[in-house]
């Protein structure tokens, strides 16, 4: 059994490094170092391996590329890949929490214009988020799915680990606006609900995504790239994203030290998740 853990920024990297050190801490732990970023142990006739890939970078593209590299042809591939990182929560009450990503929308494609006062205004083209007329023009981007964490995989990791799931809005920018109010649809389904083609603010888009379900909504910058490359490579049932919510969208006051502290705390929950993946039988024992 081989699990790869991918981290993004330095705080996440330190947390995962520390987790590996916690495990390979010498006797009586059976875990041993096998390189700078890898630990392993014997488990009966198997070898369990835990390998850390610190990206030191962020973004949907970078994360997707890392995942694709891990599953490149002619190399031994991991049984599971776990992405560990922080996220912003739409609602403040959901900060300082841990979630498994179930599904993800992509909120990025849009327009930047000068606002006339020396600044710039960014908006999103809603045609990539929802159905807009005419139907033959474009199709909205499909939802990214993580089957293991949304109850439609070979097993349900939420039930197995006891960790909750959340929906993600993935962006390529740091979002510091709260929930707005998405316009009403112009044509109701079935089969599809249509909205007037328009530019939406991030607040509108967040409201649109948050209104469609009862899930907690997080914002981060990698899950869409990860989910779509996993789908393309047909490895969706091997990929998990775990997020520690370190701040709220409209409350970015947390310091780097706070983020570091929360991610360090979160590493023990990451350890619990890994135990669930390494051996479901052991994890539930």
């Amino acid at each position: 059994m081989w699990i790869s853990v991918v981290s993004f920024n330095q705080n996440e990297q330190r947390a995962v490094d520390q987790l590996l050190s916690d495990l390979a801490s010498g006797a009586p732990s059976p875990w041993r170092r096998s390189g700078e970023q890898t630990i392993e142990r014997d488990f009966g006739e198997e070898v369990w391996k835990l390998q850390h890939f610190p990206l030191n970078a962020q973004g949907n593209v970078v994360a997707a590329v890392r995942l694709a590299e891990l599953f490149a042809p002619l190399r031994k591939v991991p049984d599971f890949v776990v992405f560990y990182g922080c996220a912003g929560a739409l609602e403040k009450e959901h900060t300082r929490s841990v979630f498994l990503v179930e599904a993800v929308n992509y909120l990025s494609l849009g327009t930047v214009v000068a606002d006339g006062a020396g600044g710039e205004t960014v908006t999103l083209k809603n045609k990539w988020l929802c159905h807009t007329p005419p139907p033959s023009d474009v199709r909205p981007l499909p939802l990214g799915i993580f089957p293991l964490c949304s109850g439609s995989g070979s097993f349900d990791l939420r039930a197995l680990s006891g960790l909750p799931g959340a929906r993600v809005a993935a962006t390529d920018k740091v979002i510091r606006v709260g929930r707005g109010s998405a316009p009403a649809p112009t044509v109701a389904g079935p089969p599809d609900t249509y909205y007037a083609k328009n530019e939406w603010t991030y607040g509108d888009a967040l409201d649109f995504v948050a209104s469609g379900h009862e899930k907690i909504l997080l914002v981060e910058m990698e899950s869409y790239g990860i989910s779509r490359i996993a789908e393309a490579l047909n490895i969706q049932d091997r990929v998990v994203v775990m997020r520690v919510t370190t701040d709220a969208l409209t409350d970015h006051g947390k310091s780097d030290d706070d983020q570091h502290s929360l991610l360090m705390q979160g590493r023990t929950v990451l350890g619990h998740l890994l135990a669930s993946l390494f051996s479901p039988t052991l994890g539930s024992a």
Binding site: D22, L23, S29, P30, W31, R41, F43, G44, E46, V77, R96, S97, V98, E102, C130, H131, P133, P134, P135, S136, P140, P142, L143, I145, P147, S150, G151, S152, G153, S154, G162, L163, V187, G189, P190, P191, D192, T193, Y195, F208, S211, G212, H213, E214, K215, N234, Q236, D237, L262, Q265, G266, T268, V269, G271, H272, A275, F278, L282, G283, A285
Partner: protein
């Protein structure tokens, strides 16, 4: 869930102990235990498929609406649609391979002590677990497949490899069903079982595609190779020309709905029509498109179908 609560609920000391625990003593293989595991796998095939065949939708898509035919009686916390058949077959066969991994220690000889159908399902799962992995020994087990299929088919059961694996194997080669006496209608039994949890008019064509995708994967594995990457979409095997009366805008809604049907290919599109007030759509699909369904869909979308060509096998 709050981090503080999680660290209490899952304390590090407990996690460390679990991750450092010794491997449990290997269970002494016995025919009774093997039989129990194989029966469990056979009986769980439909429920596993039922779980992995769903995929969430965009928020506004129609599965969420109250009168949608996709809506299931099962409790849901998110809208769902039928997952791509290729991905579903891979997930299903992945779970089957996991069962085979558990059965490996029982060995071929031990498995052969069982009822013939159970023995062959057990051996199929074991071989699947080996060939579905990246093991270099994959090709060495390729020659076991024909013998397993032959002996399983002669085991005297209608569905010797279970309600999902059997029709997948039938789809891999109809001669398999014919030559060995397996019920060639077994896909319809599977459809009947799934209808209990998935009420959708898309189900029957979706099952056909699922079985073909599963068969393709099984055929590749039985030849000692891993299935290749997803090929580009190819043109569907069937086509219809649909002439609509009314505005192009209404026609576009109809086209979008048409393309959302499973098996309808992406290149389905408007064909230039010289007569004003008419729109002509050419639909390509993997399965024949039911005319009654098209008329019902047009009525729901307030579009009139002027004419509809017969389904053409292309």
């Amino acid at each position: 869930m709050k981090l503080e609560r999680l660290t209490v609920e899952f304390p590090w000391e407990r996690t460390f102990e679990v991750l450092c625990r010794e491997a449990p003593a290997r269970e002494a293989p016995s025919p009774e235990r093997a039989q129990e595991l194989i029966e469990q796998q056979r009986e769980s095939q439909v429920s596993v498929l039922s779980r992995v065949m769903d995929s969430p939708l965009l928020e506004t898509d129609y599965a969420e609406t109250s009168d949608s035919p996709e809506r299931s009686e099962r409790p849901r916390d998110a809208p769902f649609q039928l997952r791509d058949p290729r991905q579903t077959s891979r997930l299903f066969l992945g779970v089957a391979a996991q069962a085979g991994t558990v059965l490996r220690p029982f060995g071929a000889l031990l498995l052969d002590e069982l009822d013939p159908a159970d023995a062959m399902l057990g051996r199929l799962l074991v071989v699947l677990s080996i060939t579905d992995s990246s093991s270099p020994s994959r090709a060495e087990h390729a020659d076991e497949w024909p013998e397993i299929l032959r002996r399983g088919a002669h085991a005297g059961q209608a569905l010797p490899f279970g309600p999902v694996l059997t029709p997948m194997l039938v789809a891999a080669g109809p001669e398999f069903a014919g030559a060995y006496g397996i019920d060639p209608e077994s896909p319809w039994e599977l459809a009947g079982r799934l209808e209990a949890t998935h009420r959708s008019e898309k189900l029957a064509p979706w099952i056909s595609r699922l079985l073909r995708e599963g068969a393709t994967r099984l055929a590749a594995l039985s030849e000692g190779r891993l299935p290749g990457p997803t090929p580009n979409r190819h043109r569907g095997a069937h086509s219809r020309d649909i002439v609509l009366v009314g505005s192009r805008e209404r026609g576009e809604y109809f086209l979008a709905a048409l393309k959302s049907i499973h098996g309808v290919e992406a290149q389905t599109r408007f064909i230039v029509e010289s007569t004003p007030g008419l729109s002509r759509i050419r639909a390509w699909s993997a399965e024949p498109l039911d005319a009654d369904r098209l008329y019902a869909m047009a009525e729901a979308l307030d579009v009139k179908i002027e004419s509809l060509t017969d389904d053409t096998d292309v």
